[in-house]
Symmetry: C2
Subunit: 199 residues, 2 copies
DNA sequence: GTCTATACACTGATAGAC
DNA sequence: GTCTATCAGTGTATAGAC
């Protein structure tokens, strides 16, 4: 009766299944508007199974956020180290970041959720910062520290200027739909920040 | 029986009263977790009165967001025009922005709410951009366009670099509690962005 | 471990008296 | 315009059978 084939080769198949359903619901509706009923239905399991695995709604939410943060962290770590001419390398980096974040609906929903709930779940916001912003900051800081053409001698501060410019651009133009209110070509901002940071 | 004294001298006393209660609830709990029952109780009116004034929950939320956006807009417009030595003027501007936004709990909650709900209420996110980000962008762009020492000839792009750096700093360090994960003195970032933008 | 069934509180919204 | 009372629906969480 019990099918032993194709257990998807994962440690906890039902847990993965539940997290998949939880992701769809939480990203689409937000934390408070997501019901455990719907998570169970979307995941294709009973509600009691959800509670057995994750304790309560907060436990499920925390497990989901940590999984998403770790998945994206793996992507960042896997990216090739920066090397070469700054203006070429960093322009490529900027375009990748803008396309990777600004046009990925799931990722945009994830960022909205984390920021929106950061007042009630400070620990999850910090997990996001630790797993995603901090590694990016470290990579860019190390790269900038090796560039003699960098105008600002404080490489970490320069990395914050560069990343802050890019991330705020995505937040204001894409997450908040500012591209219809204060439109501008991304290239203009990238050109300007690179022109400013390097001689 | 009916007290005629102290009608608070406002056009719609009950409406203001309801919006005050709605502000407390929505800013603290978010949109979905806020109940109309609690808004009515906090405002000191009956629930039916809330529905008579604002139609439904979305109507109340939109009225609240527009009021908050307009109040903050008035503060921005009232600020003195920028003039004088760029590094002095913009350092002062940056410190004011960081203290005004980063340490005002109500304003932080407002920004979290707007970003968190921007996927479900794009129009309200755009109202926020139009009333708060766009005016700031305009003021800084005009000021930068007059500075001969500006390295980047594209004043609007430079304004986005400057404001993006500052706003992302507040979001990551204050809204998302990144100051405990990736701490840094604000002055280092301000120094760096000014050093980069100006000769 | 997983399911069905259910407890119990609370939700957004409305009807009708005043 | 404001209130009390209430509706139908849904929320989180759990008990008990398998």
């Amino acid at each position: 009766m019990i099918q032993k084939n194709a257990p998807t080769l994962e440690l906890a198949p039902k847990a993965e299944q539940i997290l998949d359903g939880a992701m769809k619901e939480f990203l689409q509706r937000g934390y408070a508007a997501t019901s455990m009923d719907r998570v169970a239905a979307t995941a294709g399991v009973s509600k009691a199974t959800v509670y057995n695995h994750f304790g309560d709604k907060e436990g499920l939410f925390e497990a989901l956020v940590k999984q998403l943060a770790e998945r994206k962290f793996a992507q960042v770590q896997r990216s090739q180290p920066l090397q070469g001419d700054p203006k070429v390398v960093l322009r490529q980096f900027a375009m990748t970041l803008m396309n990777n974040v600004g046009k990925d609906s799931d990722y945009k929903a994830f960022v909205r959720l984390i920021i929106g709930e950061s007042g009630r779940f400070p620990h999850l916001a910090q997990t996001f910062i630790r797993n995603l912003f901090k590694p990016a900051l470290t990579i860019v800081t190390q790269y900038l520290a090796e560039q003699p053409s960098l105008r600002c001698t404080d490489a970490e501060a320069a990395a914050r200027v560069f990343l802050g410019t890019l991330i705020h651009f995505v937040i204001s133009q894409n997450l908040m739909y500012g591209d219809e209110v204060v439109p501008i070509e991304p290239e203009r901002v990238i050109d300007c920040v690179l022109e400013s940071l390097f001689q």
